[in-house]
Amino acid sequence: MNSVGLEEVLAWLREAAARIEEQKEYLTQLDSAIGDADHGINMNRGFKAALERLEANPPEDIAAALKSVAMALIGKVGGASGPLYGTMFMEMAKAIDGKERLEAADVAAAFRAGIDGIKARGKAEEGDKTMIDALEPAYAALQEAVASGAGVGEAIAAAADAAARGMEATIPLVARKGRASYLGERSAGHQDPGATSSHLLLAAAAEAWGS
């Protein structure tokens, strides 16, 4: 797939919501080890609300769809991932405002804006054992794929693979942000739930946009 339009974006969001529902228990289980055991429940509630909004008010374009998801996540998630992912979707919406279709480079630019939004909101950096540890390597891979002329499908697949590696690499890290940081050294040895949900979102896109 060389570019994606509103239909494909909606397909991704539906796929993401489905995967989050499916993985709800797993995410919550990860969160119970080092957090407050609500990440799966929160994300599932947020994405369900997002799908309801999209159905109730069908978006006119991609930006409207992403913005709608942002508002749902901010309003419904309840945990820190609400404002964080909410900000990410909001920044992505702004970055591609007015575009009918997204080329791989547009996706990369939107993703960059989204990550920057999360960083500004959560003040986390790579290595803090957060979503950023999955998202930054994913962006790097996405960017590299774009530079080598890959289409959207191929590029997002590379990003999802990188996110998986980044997610796994959070296991030995000591958390420096979020509830897990209260555990200090004891947070090492567990995979970060935020990095895991970030990977889920990218894997859903790779699935939805795969050639």
Partner: protein, 833 residues
């Protein structure tokens, strides 16, 4: 969420918790403790019966709006998402609620809320309420762990990185200039830096936002806390600590607002008769009184055609104004020095302020266009400053408005400069460098200022324009259009003069005009004294265009090429090729006239982005001029090679600034030799000289004269360093005069040493273009005068009228005098004006 609004204009309080029960409970507890009139709302839990624990940004937004008070709202939160959702809520607030008056407070939830409600109930301000909330744990600590109480007071900085606490010693606190230096310093480091006013208990604000830092309201004696995180955190903190030790570069300001100028003690404004001030530019003119007026800016309201296009227009307008201010800054820097140019730096920082620009861009929307949004955003920031009830903060508001107007005018396509509405006599308190830089010369027939001195901008401008000026005349209270007779020679102003006086003045003015016209027509001819001494009258320039303008103005050459323009406002040094090309273009524009090229002359007060240097206590006595060149030899070598290549085919002379001891000369001379070897030899007849700015060089002029080819006296710095008086300081304007006998004595010493060794001496400071200084300098033995091109015709005219041997006697008697004023009087008498 439950809101209880009982009324009053007290600070409102919102309690945010993951648990609705906890939030409600805290509200209940705080309510019990007092503060019955305080509007208090709980925003706890989320709207999901199965899993009710969490926080909801929209619920927090509504809670803030429900307790909204113009005195502000304090938000206390539990942890994690509560903080981020509270931050997010601020972005969605709807008027009248205003995020800038909501304080997200890191105080402990239960104790903090109780303390906050109790304090808010007595009508305390938002910052006072926040300070009490933060101190909420103290009673508990004192009870349970009294020994740790003292230490714990200083530890609210969890997770913000390292921090330091500094006491602000500046007499005026962190007003715009020091705040802008702080922001500028922070900008040099890769670190996230936040700063809070501990004394007022403010929340930390990003140190990169000038508006936010200034709005902390830091005054003398306040304690600030600075946190830094990121790779350069330590370096940033250390630089900030140095800056604070240096009073944020603010040492020169008086502790109190300066009293009315000594020479104009609180006098009643004059509205009739003859006013006597100080003549600052000779000549006579009659014209109607004119004041500077700002053009009205009419801001269109209503929906823009395309909001995105309007955002783009706003960005472009800001960029354009930034470019304007940068170029004004360069001009003023070149003409008047760093202290005067500082205010432009502050203005530039306002234009870079993310808070201001972000809020303006956000306001643009379907119903609000760029001009309206920008005006609203700047007014909001200016109002924030004004609310601080501090006269110096009010000045910051003025700065924001001044810059705001420029951008607005650019958006509206209007020329924003204050202007005279018709030609006439400009009447002002004193002219700022900015006003001086933007005046329309066609309109100005004469200048009268209430304050100022013969060395101030108004006077320099008047001499540059060749119009009469009277400074230090005291306040005038005359209606616009009232006829004024200005005699810049006698230093008098006649208000509403009788017809016969006007007729006499007109005759003299016509004579002056004729003389100037004649001088201009002969500007290109050589300037030779009546007894045959040729004086080279040259121009000071700073660009290729200047070189062309100099030739047109009649310059015999260029006595000072300021090469800084090649280095400023860029992130990498200019390549050797670029330098060579520029110097070549300038030399070619001069058509065979000599060109004195001064090597890079900057210091720690104006660090080059690509050449980070440690901050200095006193940059004017620091690593500047040649000292910097010797510390960064590659930079200097590259410049010297470029100059030498051009010197092979053009009459280029190389001059080194800020030389103070002979060993510096020896080092740089060796470098020139090496550079020449690298490019295939020293051009034939190349002259290499030094600027005389440091008294130690003038005192050792005999040693230098044996080895240099020429001297050029930088009277501005030589005067500053000799009299220890900064030129830009209005209170010292009378002291910092190049015609002071002590300065003349150093020039005399230099000229004598030069004559013994057959070297020539030039002057490239402001004094070279001052007609009264000309006979003195020529009398001392100076044979080259280099100045702003506008002064050339007049100076040549003066040279042609004097007899060099008479001038020598005048100079000899000037050396015996005790004040610059006496020297000026003697010179005026000598010139018979």
């Amino acid at each position: 969420m439950r809101a209880e609004r009982i009324g009053g204009s007290l600070v409102g309080i919102v309690v945010v918790s993951h648990s609705a029960k906890l939030a409600e409970g805290v509200v209940e507890l705080a309510r019990q403790m007092g503060g019955g009139d305080v509007a208090l709302a709980a925003a706890g839990g989320i709207d999901d019966p199965e899993s009710p624990i969490g926080t909801d940004a929209f619920a927090i937004k509504e809670a803030i709006e429900s307790v909204w008070s113009d005195d502000g709202v304090l938000v206390l939160m539990d942890l994690g998402s509560a903080i981020m959702n509270a931050e997010t809520a601020l972005e969605f607030l709807e008027p009248p609620a205003d995020a800038s008056r909501v304080l997200l407070c890191e105080a402990p939830l239960v104790e903090g809320t109780v303390a906050a409600v109790a304090t808010a109930g007595i009508g305390a301000s938002l910052s006072e309420v926040a300070a009490e909330a933060r101190a909420g744990l103290t009673p508990k600590i004192e009870h349970l762990a009294p020994a740790e109480a003292a230490e714990s007071e200083a530890t609210p900085e969890v997770a913000r990185g390292r921090s330091i606490v500094l006491r602000v010693g500046n007499p005026l606190g962190l007003h715009l200039r020091p705040a802008s230096r702080l922001v500028e310093t922070v900008g040099r480091f890769d670190a996230e830096v936040r700063i809070a006013n501990r004394t007022t208990g403010s929340d930390p604000v990003p140190a990169r936002s000038l508006a936010r830092v200034s709005a902390l309201g830091v005054r003398q004696g306040h304690e600030i806390e600075v946190w830094a995180a990121g790779p350069d955190a330590d370096a940033a903190l250390s630089a900030i600590s140095d800056l604070a030790a240096d009073d944020f570069g603010d040492r020169d300001l008086p502790a109190a607002p300066p009293p009315p100028k000594a020479e104009t003690p609180a006098v009643e404004p004059r509205s009739e008769g003859t006013v006597v001030g100080v003549g600052a530019s000779p000549g006579v003119a009659v014209g109607p009184a004119r004041y500077l007026r700002r053009p009205a800016l009419e801001v269109p309201t209503g929906p823009p055609a395309d909001p995105e296009a309007d955002r783009q227009r706003l960005r472009q307008a800001i960029d354009a104004v930034r470019a304007d201010i940068e170029s004004q800054r360069e001009q003023v820097l070149a003409r008047a020095g760093e202290a005067e140019a500082d205010i432009f730096t502050a203005h530039l920082l306002i234009l870079d302020d993310e808070h201001l620009i972000g809020s303006a861009l956000e306001r643009i929307g379907p119903s609000t266009g760029a001009a309206e949004a920008w005006q609203a955003a700047t007014e909001a920031v200016a109002d924030d400053f004004r609310r601080l009830e501090d006269p110096y903060q009010a000045q910051r508001a003025d700065d924001v408005e001044a810059v705001g107007r420029q951008v607005l005018a650019r958006l509206l396509g209007v020329d924003p400069r204050p202007r005279m509405e018709a030609p006439g006599v400009l009447v002002a308190d004193d002219l700022t460098p900015g006003e001086t830089a933007t005046l329309d010369p066609e309109m100005v027939q004469a200048i009268v200022t209430a304050a100022g001195a013969p060395t101030s901008h108004s006077a320099i401008l008047a001499r540059g324009l060749g119009v009469p000026a009277v400074v230090a005349a005291g306040p005038l209270e005359v209606e616009e259009g009232t006829p004024l007779l200005v005699d810049g020679t006698a230093g008098s102003v006649v208000i509403d003069p009788p017809p016969e006086q006007v007729a006499e003045a007109r005759r003299r003015a016509e004579e002056d005009a004729r003389r100037l016209e004649e001088a201009r027509s002969r500007a290109a001819a050589p300037a030779v004294t009546t007894d045959g001494v040729a004086i080279e009258v040259a121009a000071n320039i700073g660009s290729v265009e200047d070189a062309r303008a100099a030739v047109e103005a009649g310059a015999d050459g260029v006595g000072l090429l300021r090469t800084e323009f090649l280095y400023l406002n860029r992130t990498t040094p200019p390549s050797e090729e670029e330098q060579e090309e520029t110097y070549r273009q300038i030399a070619e524009a001069l058509g065979g006239r000599p060109l004195v090229l001064r090597t890079l002359d900057v210091g720690g007060d104006k660090p080059l982005p690509f050449l980070p240097r440690p901050p200095e206590q006193n940059p004017f006595l620091g690593v500047r001029g040649l000292r910097l060149g010797l510390a960064e030899p590659e930079l200097l070598m590259s410049q010297v090679r470029a100059a030498l290549r051009v010197a092979a085919t053009h009459p280029v002379r190389i001059m080194f600034p800020m030389v103070s001891v002979l060993s510096e000369w020896e080092q740089v001379r060796t470098m020139v030799g090496e550079a020449a070897e690298q490019i295939g030899g020293l051009p034939d007849g190349l002259q290499i000289g030094v600027m005389v700015e440091v008294p130690s060089l003038a005192l050792a002029a005999d040693r230098f004269a044996a080895v240099v080819d020429f001297f050029s006296i930088g009277t501005n710095d030589l005067t500053q360093y000799t009299l220890a008086a900064e030129r830009g300081n209005p209170e010292l304007a009378n002291l910092a005069d190049a015609l002071h006998p002590s300065v003349l004595s150093l020039i005399d010493r230099t000229c004598r040493a030069a004559a013994e060794h057959g070297r020539w001496v030039g002057v490239c400071g402001e004094a070279a273009g001052d007609p009264l200084a000309v006979p003195i300098l020529v009398g001392l033995g100076v044979t080259e005068l280099s100045m702003s091109p506008v002064a050339i015709a007049q100076v040549k005219d003066v040279v042609r009228r004097i007899d060099a041997s008479d001038a020598r006697r005048l100079a000899a008697s000037a050396l015996e005098m005790t004040s610059a004023e006496a020297v000026r009087q003697a010179a005026a008498a000598f010139l018979g004006t």
